[in-house]
Subunit: 344 residues, 2 copies
């Protein structure tokens, strides 16, 4: 960083002239007063000393404002559900944090991570409102569409990882969830599977779009989605197992599962295995995300890949546009199907 402070002597001269002007006295009076000269009245000396202190503050403030302009910190907010206070252990979220840290490091920025109560999402803007960050990346759109719109409406520079929704004021960057769902569905249909169960909470925008993609693939093959094959599942570590057991308990026919995340798919596969159902022989399973370990899983997991490294860069690039006062249109990153042994 180049030195921007003027040399000490200049700064002192400027300060004396300022004090003189403000006190309504000459600079030589100021000089004498600061030196404690008895030639100056007690009253004037006190005034000049107070002003000197006051102006010293001003000089510091200037440096502080300069630092603010040079603020190179971006806030990353991950809301938590106050009911569960779930730990930050989801591999996809963690990979996204890592990707953001990498993208910000590349641009010379630090990352201020805060978790806020999802029911009081306005608090997400606090690091911006207090001048600690130049803008915010929010990971976890969940059901917060209205609150996020409010933040955007009051011009908080914010970019959200998630799905594009109708009447959206804020900028999103996300994978193409509809296309991802179509890819997964078309792949399973091409493998001869027709009774495809879906695991996930379709009230979450991204998950809802993945399910809609599956339904479109089914419709294109002349099939209707069977509501009995839609199983609510959450992102908690054993969400996939619970959904698998729920599905088995329903006693409906199924030959494939499309799970809302890789972790859910892995947890479901382990549950199917415990119930003696072979994967992919009896049940083909597709995950979502392509977290690093999906290729190490047994069987290696067929999944829809989200481009995590690009995601971090795209989120940061859009946020920097916003902070420069330029528009940042919402962005969908392409997704691709990675075929591995869990379906073929």
């Amino acid at each position: 960083m180049p030195k921007t402070t003027p040399p000490e002597a200049d700064s002192r001269r400027l300060q004396m002239a300022d004090i003189a002007r403000l006190a309504g006295v000459s600079t030589s009076t100021v000089s004498r007063a600061l030196a404690g000269s008895k030639l100056i009245s007690e009253e004037t000396r006190t005034r000049v000393m107070e002003l000197a202190r006051s102006l010293k503050y001003n000089i510091n403030i200037g440096a502080q404002n300069l630092r603010m302009k040079q603020n190179r910190t971006v806030g990353v907010v991950v809301p938590y559900d106050p009911a569960t206070r779930q730990h930050l252990s989801d591999p996809f979220f963690l990979a996204m944090l890592g990707s953001l840290a990498d993208a910000l490091t590349e641009q010379g920025f630090d990352m201020l991570v805060s978790r806020v109560d999802a029911s009081e999402l306005d608090a997400a803007a606090a690091p911006f409102d207090t001048g600690r960050v130049i803008g915010i990346v929010l990971i976890g759109q969940w059901r917060h569409h209205d609150q996020l719109n409010q933040l955007a409406a009051r011009h908080v520079p914010i970019v959200v990882w998630g799905a594009q929704l109708p009447q959206q004021l804020y900028c999103t960057v996300g994978g193409d969830n509809l296309a991802g769902g179509q890819l997964a569905g078309a792949h399973l249909l091409a493998q001869g599977r027709q009774r495809i169960a879906f695991f996930g909470d379709i009230n979450l925008p991204e998950i809802g779009q993945r399910y809609a993609g599956l339904c479109q693939a089914l419709a294109a093959a002349g099939l209707a989605a069977d509501p009995a094959l839609l199983v609510p599942a959450s992102f908690v570590p054993d969400g996939g197992r619970l959904a698998a057991e729920e599905l088995l308990g329903r006693g409906v026919a199924f030959d494939a599962v499309f799970a809302g995340s890789d972790l859910m798919a892995m947890s479901a596969i382990n549950a199917f295995r415990q119930h003696g159902l072979d994967v992919p022989g009896r049940v083909a399973v597709v995950g979502y995300d392509d977290i690093p370990l999906s290729s190490y899983f047994h069987p290696p997991l067929t999944t829809v890949q989200q481009p995590i490294q690009e995601a971090g860069r795209a989120l940061v690039a859009s946020l920097l546009e916003l902070t420069e006062g330029r528009p940042a249109p919402s962005l969908q990153l392409p997704t691709q199907l990675i075929v591995r042994a869990s379906t073929v």
Copy 2:
């Protein structure tokens, strides 16, 4: 946060008295000047306006100092190697970031993440030196012992995840790596394995202690460690595969591998499988860390568990002791062996 700003009216009255005293005029003159009255000379009006601005700054500075005292941000620094600029994708590092974020959220703190060039580690203290954080947690002790000592010597509150070393001035929190290595070695010996290869860079303090633990277990069984079974391996994603191929290329007899991390173990198992070597039949493999997915791996991985959630809490607790000016002795968290199908 309780309101600390005095009511607006009081603040305004104080300000007018201050301006009057500093300008050497009466408060009614100040009042008129601020109202833009023509009864006041241009010169006096300008002086009063400037002083008003100046004092407003002072009030802001006070609020700012208050905010600094209430600074509730902790810095988390993850050094990177400038040669490789490796992405932040290691599951153990990411899990540790998540654990720290959780522990800090519990205590009402935000987390400022910065990555610094490992060869200029003094930069790790910048967020503290500039007053943005109250202290620093550093993840990635690597070979930075001397630089970390220098930071501690100049009283930067810093806690490092890693191994305790001789002549250490800084505070470390880490797993008991020596005991972890002993546990892994004793378990493999109890399974009848005697030719145990070690994968990892023993110049890194933690890895060196894990290897020393293995050697102690061998010695306790009357066996010497064979240097031909020590294979350097790094934490890059395919480090385990490269080490497995190096070991196979050496043509030495081996019946087990103790790998420096779970990821290394998983990557090695995949390589052994590709070479037609059954795990655990032909080669038993033990990992280290117990990352969430080691239980999902096939075969599920025997590993030495590092208590990640406790680690985050312990790092934060030690750092808060330091920032309060109290001593924080280095701490070793107990490790335990988790036996799964990769060894039995």
